[in-house]
Structures are given as C-alpha cells and as structure tokens.
Amino acid sequence: MSTPRTIIEKLWDSHVVAERPGAPSLIYIDLHLVHEVTSPQAFSGLRERGLKVRRPQNTFATTDHSTPTTPRSLPIVDPIAKAQVEQLETNCREFGIPIFGFRSPKQGIVHVIGPENGLTQPGMTVVCGDSHTATHGAFGALAFGIGTSEVEMVLATQCLLQRKSKTYEVRVDGALKPGVSAKDIILALIARIGVGGGTGCVFEYRGSAISSLSMEERMTVCNMSIEGGARAGLVAPDDATYQFLAGRAFVPKGAGWDAAIQRWKELPTDEGATYDHTISIDANALEPMITFGTNPGMGIPVSGIVPDPAAISDPLERDSLTKALQYMDLQPGKPLAGQPINVVFVGSCTNSRMSDLRAAASVMKGRKVNPKVRMMVVPGSMEIKRQAEAEGLDKVFREAGADWREAGCSMCIAMNGDQLQPGEYSVSTSNRNFEGRQGKGGRTFLASPLTAAASAITGVVTDIRTLQN
C-alpha cells in the first residue's frame, strides 16, 4: 500500500512536470487568472521576448482593482486607472485571452468570478498575480498568489518553478454560535498564529466546523490564508463542492462531469496522512472577532479589550504594537466596542458574495445607517449584483441609507477612488488593516458582514449579539 498523502501532497504530485537536481520542481498551472494591476509589465515582457501565451484557454482576465464602482455608463475618470484598464483589454485582445472586461455583465473581483463561472475546479493548480488567490482553495485546488515575473512565466510556459511547501492542518471542530461566522474563524486563527505563523506552509482547513460551511463561507476562510503567512489554504472537495459547481458555465457537462467527480473524489487527505504542523480551534468557543491594530493578526473578540504593549517582553514586538496603537489612536486596556466609526464597507474578495450581502441585509432591514456613518456595499461581481437586486437586497441597503455600488475591489485596496479620509475609522469586511490600506491615514477594523452591519446602525463598533430589535 502506498504512503498516505494529504490533499496538498496529492495536488503537488499530480502537477510536477519535471525535476532537475539542484532546481525547484517545475509545476504545471491549470488556471491562470489575470487582472489589470499586476499584469501589464508581464505582457510587456512577452512582447520584448517575442513570446506568445502558451494556453490562452486556461487563462482568464477581468478588471477589478483600479476599476470604479460608479455606474458603468460613466467613463473612468482617473486617466491613469483608465489607461490601465484599457491596457488589459488591449493585452487580452493581442494575446487571445478571454476577458470579462470593464463593461462585461460577467465582470467582477477575480476571486469571485472564478468560482462563480466554474473556472475554479477541484484538483487544479490556480495562480493569479494577487495574494488572495488562496480563495480558490475552497474548491480543493492548490491556489496561490504570484508576482509579476511569475505572471510572465505562466503566460509564456504555463509553468512555475516552485519548492514544495510544508503542510499545516487547521482543525476547526464544533458548531459556531449565533452571530459568529466564517470570517470570525479565520480572524481567530490569524490572531492566534500571527501574520507570519503560516510562512512556508499550505493550510488545509478541516474538521466538522469547516465541513458544515457553505462554499461561500469556505472561500472567506481560504481567502485570508495569506494573512496568516500561508501562500495557499484549502478545503478538500465534498458534496457541497460538487453541488455548488454543477451546471456552472465552465465545468464539464454530461459524461465529462461524471468522470470529473470520480477524479475529484480521490483528492481528500488519506486516512493516516501526517502534517508538518497542526493547530486545533474549538468552534463552540469562538466569538465575533475584530481587529484593533495595523495587521490582521492584531485581532480580539469584539467584546474584548485593546491589549497593552507594556505586557510584551520582546522589544521589537512591543514597539510594533505601540506604533500600531498610535496609528489607530486607541488606548490599551479599553474595550473596542463603543469606539465611534465613520465608514462601513461591505465588500472585497473576502466578503462580497450573496451570503455576505444577505447577512448584512438581515441586520439592515427596517433599520437606518447611523447619520454619522457612510456605508458602502459593493457586490463581488455584476452577476451577484443582479442576483442581489432580484432578491431586493439593494432596496434594503438603499432604504437604510447605504450606498449600493457596481462590482470591484473598491475600498479594500482604495485604488479606484473609494477610500477613507485621513483619521477616519472604518469597520470593513475586507482582509487587510495595514496603515493606509483603505486610504492614506485611514484606520480599519476588520470584521464580519454581521459586525459591520451592526456597527453601521449604531455608529460605533458593535457586538452583533447586543444589537436590540
């Protein structure tokens, strides 16, 4: 009998093209997603070398990062952003790459449209010039972010030189309590292991709490693997995976579908396989989480208090926390709940899917956004926008006083004009609270859609479980 393997090792083994002594393995890439920000220099490189795209049929592009979320009938006002979006469309035309462009009804955040169209499938290797590519790991794919040099390599050869990562089992067992969501699982993990805790590793999320998550919730968890330092994170495929994918545009049909399912069923980790690292999280004990600092590891339960740098012995760690609290203008030892906020952002590749919008709308329904708060809701794709409008979610948000926008990365990365003003506080469903991430001088509290919506109503950081009817 062969040695039991984890899904991570199975994915790796089936994609090794060649191995030469002294060099990393040559790994085949099944799906390459491309967007406007990290690809222009790669296409320039191809032109300089006179190279073509090896497999345009395994390459898909969309525009999301510098893309405005104002009505699509309007032009792109920022000339530099406009040039970048147009350059992507030109590059895709020239190199024969399918694109869901700025005015396409299928446009959306790259990590939303991949699964939505069934481009992301179990057993695949997926790359994109974007660190949140691990999102696609929710489907049992080995999906990771790459730099622009690597984008050029994949365009030209469909391959990358990679060293095998270590395996890291993240076991989450138990049942989430009301008000606690997938976002809280991943924020709790990162708060425990720190932003460098998973460096050099691929996470496999497993356990009863993970199995009971919907595909959208699994995407939220996998999405933020990089915030724990892991380049990739995944969940083994199961019936929920197949049900989600069945009938989507790019998945195989008929006999091809049946054969694909048979292959995918071989992927889950074998009984008895071992991991390099393991961590266990009790889902029953989790509370809604929120970050207080300037990296995603600086997280606490929303009912908790801001930690005190004086309690840390390592001088560099202590200084980093002091610096973070200065930037955030927060006092150690004080609760974060009740902290006044200026902006609420619901969106991003972490939390912009139907279930996220439904969760936020369930809180907003019949209520008003606090007059001191500006709330922006940005669906992950134009398809999600249409579906949400068909369900009347846009009405709930608009009647509450929130701004309902077109699809894009928006205020998660603040490249498109959607941004915080200096000194403003946001509760955001996105993935990064780095200094200036949502606009120069802006201060971000990362949280779930439920926490974000509750805070929008009250105008202060709010524990959803305390929101009165």
């Binding site: 990290t38 222009p40 952003a81 932003v195 460096t199 790019f250 200084d319 200096p422």
Partner: protein, 204 residues
C-alpha cells in the same frame, strides 16, 4: 537579471516587525503600467507629509543614509500583497539586500527575481546588528553570496541560508523564464498525459 556576487554597505535600520508591501509602496501607485520611477514612492506614506514634502525624521530622507544598499528590518518583512512593485521600488532606490529574521513567502520569491537578496539571520544576530548600527551608523557589513556569508566589522563571519537555485541564478544572472523555456519538451509531454484534465475549461 542583474548579477549579485558581493556587496559591502552600511545598514539602514528600520526596527519594525511585519513591514507589509502596502507600506513599501502604497496601492494607489500600482496603477502604472511600467516598472519605472517607483523609487520615488518607496515607503511613500512614512516618507512624505500631507503636502508631499519629505519628513525629515523618516530615515530614508536623512542625508546620513543616502547611498546605503542594505536595509535592516524587523521580522516577517514584506508580508501582505504580492505586488512585485515592492522589490522594484526597493532596488530602484538602491537597496541590494534586506536583513531580517524572516521574510514573507511571496516577497522573498519576488525579491530573488530582481537581484534583491533577502538575508535571514538569528534573533540574536539581528539584535546585535541593530545595536551595532545604533552605536556606529558607519559600520559596514559585507555579503558574499557564493559563500553565503555575512561579515561583520569585528571580523565575525556568519552563514545565511539561500535557496541553491536562486543563488545560482543570482551569481550567474540566469533568466528563470529562459530556463523554463528550455524545458518545453517536458511541458509538452505533461500536457499530452493530462489532456482530459486540462480541457475541462471549455464551455460546452
């Protein structure tokens, strides 16, 4: 790729853990379609005030530190976004190496492809280097990639780890894409064996 063999330089101290790529170069400067001119935006939001004037108390602006080629930074340098603009901005400013106790995976991979050497040192040595620079900002260290050694002013030599292939590429100026292209027959053979799996993406 530019070759890297040896380097002797002072070290610019930046004693902050988890310096993310949004600090190295903020996202709003990523709308460019070229690689040029990014040195102006290196550490932009720490470097300039609200009016765009250089902040005199930020180390990159201090006359003392101009021309330095090694950055001495806190743990987990380069975490966050995969933007290769980060190593482009660092190298365009003049850095050829960064010393830290650890680096984020994607940053490290990007840096090595741009002739920027990430040097991992122990916590003890890391603290010692910061002390050394605090006492004498003129203190120089030497990096010898071939022997993977960092030489301190007191004559101590310390080995540091480098991926063997990356080291070869840096020493010889090997182009990684060219190296992969040489293996096209292996790629074709792989594609031939995986025909079914690779063609699941065609809408029927």
């Amino acid at each position: 790729m530019a070759k890297f063999t040896t380097l002797t330089s002072r070290m610019m101290p930046m004693p902050i853990d988890n310096i993310d790529t949004d600090q190295i170069i903020p996202a709003r400067f990523l709308k460019t379609i070229s690689k040029e001119g990014l040195d102006k935006q290196l550490f932009n939001d720490w470097r300039y005030d609200a009016s765009g004037n250089p902040k005199p108390d930020f180390i990159l602006n201090a006359p003392l530190w101009q021309g330095v080629q090694i950055l001495l930074a806190g743990d987990n340098f380069g975490c966050g976004s995969s933007r290769e603009h980060a190593p482009w901005a660092l190298t365009q400013w003049g850095f050829r190496a960064v010393i830290s106790t650890s680096f984020a995976d994607i940053f490290k991979s990007n840096a090595l492809k741009n002739g920027l050497v990430p040097i991992v040192v122990s916590r003890d040595l890391h603290a010692k280097l910061f002390d050394m620079v605090a006492k004498d900002p003129q203190a120089q260290v030497s990096v010898d990639l071939a022997s993977q050694t960092l030489s301190l002013p007191d004559g101590t030599k310390v080995e540091f780890p480098v991926d063997a292939f990356s080291k070869h590429c840096l020493l010889e100026g090997v182009d990684e894409l060219g190296y992969i292209l040489q293996q096209t027959p292996a790629i074709e053979a792989y594609e031939a064996t995986k025909e079914v799996e690779l063609n699941t993406l065609q809408p029927v």
